[in-house]
């Protein structure tokens, strides 16, 4: 942890044991990154958001009845590689994604962030989310949790290698679809 970021974060107090301090620092760094991601998505800066990803990537949203679904064997709702995610972003930017044109208003809360180093430069993270999406007269709520595989580096501290957004819904009703990015 460098001094500059320490000074911004009073929680990472020198009085804390070394190991605890480093866990908290990691979590704070991941939280910062996830808040940044959330802000980009909520403000529809989807092209900037796409820059947060590594070259090889996987963005997954499993079917509601199979939260542990494996994209090689099971039917998910979304299983984007770089090419598909790029197309997804493009459809939002071009306005051909009719469900999000005109764009809905989305707002998400990210909580319960956990993070651990799994190998050099690789961090596994988990967070709960609630996304509120309103459009015309309807408000849909998308509660769930996201699992991330992050790689360290880049201007924001991390890149996303994998994001798996698992919805806590039995069915996608009355939402009907996930046409924005979770």
């Amino acid at each position: 942890m460098n001094k500059a970021s320490n000074s911004k974060r009073p929680l990472a107090d020198n009085a804390l044991p070394q190991s605890l301090g480093s866990d908290i620092n990691l979590r704070l760094a991941v939280e910062n990154f996830l808040y940044h991601e959330a802000e980009l998505l909520d403000t529809w800066c989807v092209e900037e958001w796409l820059a947060l990803w590594t070259e090889e990537l996987s963005y997954l949203v499993p079917s509601t009845d199979k939260p542990d679904g494996d994209p090689r064997k099971d039917l998910l709702m979304i299983q984007d590689d770089r090419f598909l995610l790029h197309q997804r972003v493009r459809s939002i930017v071009n306005g051909t994604n009719w469900a999000e044109n005109p764009r809905s208003t989305i707002r998400r809360s990210i909580t319960n962030v956990q993070a651990k180093v799994v190998k050099e430069n690789a961090v596994e993270a988990k967070a709960n989310f609630v996304v509120y999406r309103s459009q015309a007269a309807s408000l849909n709520i998308f509660p769930g949790h996201a699992e991330y595989l992050l790689e360290t580096g880049g201007p924001e501290g991390f890149y996303i290698r994998m994001k798996r957004a698992v919805l806590d819904l039995e069915e996608l009703r009355p939402h009907g679809r996930v046409a924005f990015i979770l």
């Binding site: 099971d74 039917l75 998910l76 709702m77 071009n94 996608l172 009355p174 939402h175 679809r177």
Partner: protein
């Protein structure tokens, strides 16, 4: 329904004027809860309605619960291997006896008073049984089976009408397309794990029309066709030149066509590389051996969207989706969609299939959300019913040759829908 004027209630649901080549549907059929109540009686309670696929309950003791056309059902394979469909309600006081979505068990035990039933529906035990003097020899205390349960090539249907015609007769010409689908595998077809369950505010018949609508593709699905071009594909038909909507009898209809996309059975695309071409050639050779070249090519290359009246859609396209949908209210529907695949498919082909499926289909796919939006917009547009009363389904009428982007296949649905709704029964 306050928005409907009394003079409008007397309008026909459907007007077909052959002289003027005009086919119109009155928009109140999408908004009126009384019409939905009539549909429940005249259509959902008398037609064969899709329940599930045999592969969903492969082993003795396997069961699943499912709401099918407004009724709570248990779909179960007994210890002896027979398949049953019961109303999920205790003959005692009515509680649902099975509360899990799926599982494997020996008995269903009602949580309320612990009456228990074997998987063939027979009452086997109840606390303080001696207090009942009426015995159960007439089965009055057994689970109640649906009036009719039958399957065609592994697809199970129920019919709540004791006077129903048999399933094969009901399916009529639709069997040709079910056969083309199931014949993909020598071993059998299976539902892939993971169900897409979603719902939105639009009348169920709008999804019927949309599922066999060849006209909306380009404008609604720009996202998808942009994707195909970006992937290096070509738009339009790259296989067969067939383009003929089919009336399959009893309200069933299909459109069959070639496509720019790859088919895991067995039309390769560039993205699958040389190995993909080799894999597909092998599958085609096997199909040719089983069916001869003509039918093998039809199975491998031809796409179709099949409607089985009233609410089952089998789209055999870049993957196979089985999709069914039920009204929750006149302006709301509940959709369930599954992926169907050959059991003996290779791992790599299954991966290609699933990727294909999600590039177009489902609530997070690159096309289905746009359909959902279009149908919601129709439903909202019907708020103007009082002033703008009619939908137009005339495209292609008066032409000698009907194409898939005409609306003949929708007229097939509407004629049958109207016939059943007018019937005295």
């Amino acid at each position: 329904m306050s928005k409907i004027e009394s003079k409008q209630v007397n309008q026909p649901y459907v007007i077909e004027n052959k002289g003027k080549s005009l086919f119109q549907v009155n928009r109140r059929v999408f908004v009126d809860d009384q019409i939905l109540e009539r549909e429940t009686r005249k259509i959902f309670d008398t037609c064969w309605i899709y329940l599930g696929h045999e592969s969903e309950i492969p082993n003795p003791g396997d069961f699943l619960t499912r709401q099918v056309a407004g009724k709570e059902l248990i779909f179960v394979r007994s210890r002896e291997g027979d398949v049953h469909a019961f109303f999920n309600t205790c003959p005692h006081r009515g509680a649902m006896v099975c509360r899990e979505k799926q599982g494997n068990d020996k008995l269903f035990v009602c949580m309320y008073h612990a009456w228990s039933f074997d998987l063939a529906g027979k009452l086997v035990n109840r606390p303080e049984a001696k207090r009942y003097h009426a015995d159960n020899s007439d089965g009055v205390h057994n689970l109640v089976p649906v009036a009719n349960l039958d399957n065609y090539r592994g697809l199970y249907f129920v019919n709540y009408d004791v006077n129903a015609i048999d399933l094969p007769t009901y399916l009529g010409g639709a069997r040709e397309y079910i056969d083309l689908t199931i014949d993909q595998s020598e071993v059998g077809m299976e539902i892939v794990g993971g169900t897409q369950e979603y719902g939105f505010d639009a009348n169920w018949k709008l999804l019927v029309e949309n599922s066999i609508d060849g006209y909306h593709g380009m404008p609604t699905h720009t996202t998808y066709f942009d994707y195909i071009l970006a992937a290096g594909g070509q738009l339009g038909d790259t296989g067969t030149k067939i383009n003929k909507p089919r009336d399959l009898g009893n309200g069933h209809a299909a459109i069959e066509y070639g496509s720019p996309w790859g088919r895991p059975i067995a039309k390769p695309v560039a993205a699958w590389g040389e190995q993909g071409e080799k894999d597909c050639a092998e599958i085609r050779a096997k199909l040719t051996e089983r069916f001869g070249k003509e039918r093998a090519d039809r199975i491998a290359y031809n796409n179709f969207n099949l409607l089985i009246f009233p609410n089952l859609v089998i789209n055999n396209v870049m993957a196979i989706t089985i999709r069914t949908f039920y009204p929750q209210a006149a302006n709301k529907q509940h959709v369930k969609a599954w992926a169907l695949a050959p059991m003996d498919e290779s791992k790599v082909m299954r991966e290609r299939r699933l990727y294909n499926y999600l590039e177009f289909l489902g609530p997070g796919g690159f096309a289905t959300p746009d359909d959902c939006e279009a149908l919601k917009m129709c439903q909202q547009g019907y708020m103007n019913l009082k002033n703008v009363e009619w939908n137009d389904i005339s495209k292609g009428m008066g032409e000698n040759k009907q194409g898939n982007t005409d609306e003949k296949q929708m007229r097939v649905f509407w004629r049958e829908w109207d016939r059943r709704m007018q019937s005295a029964k």
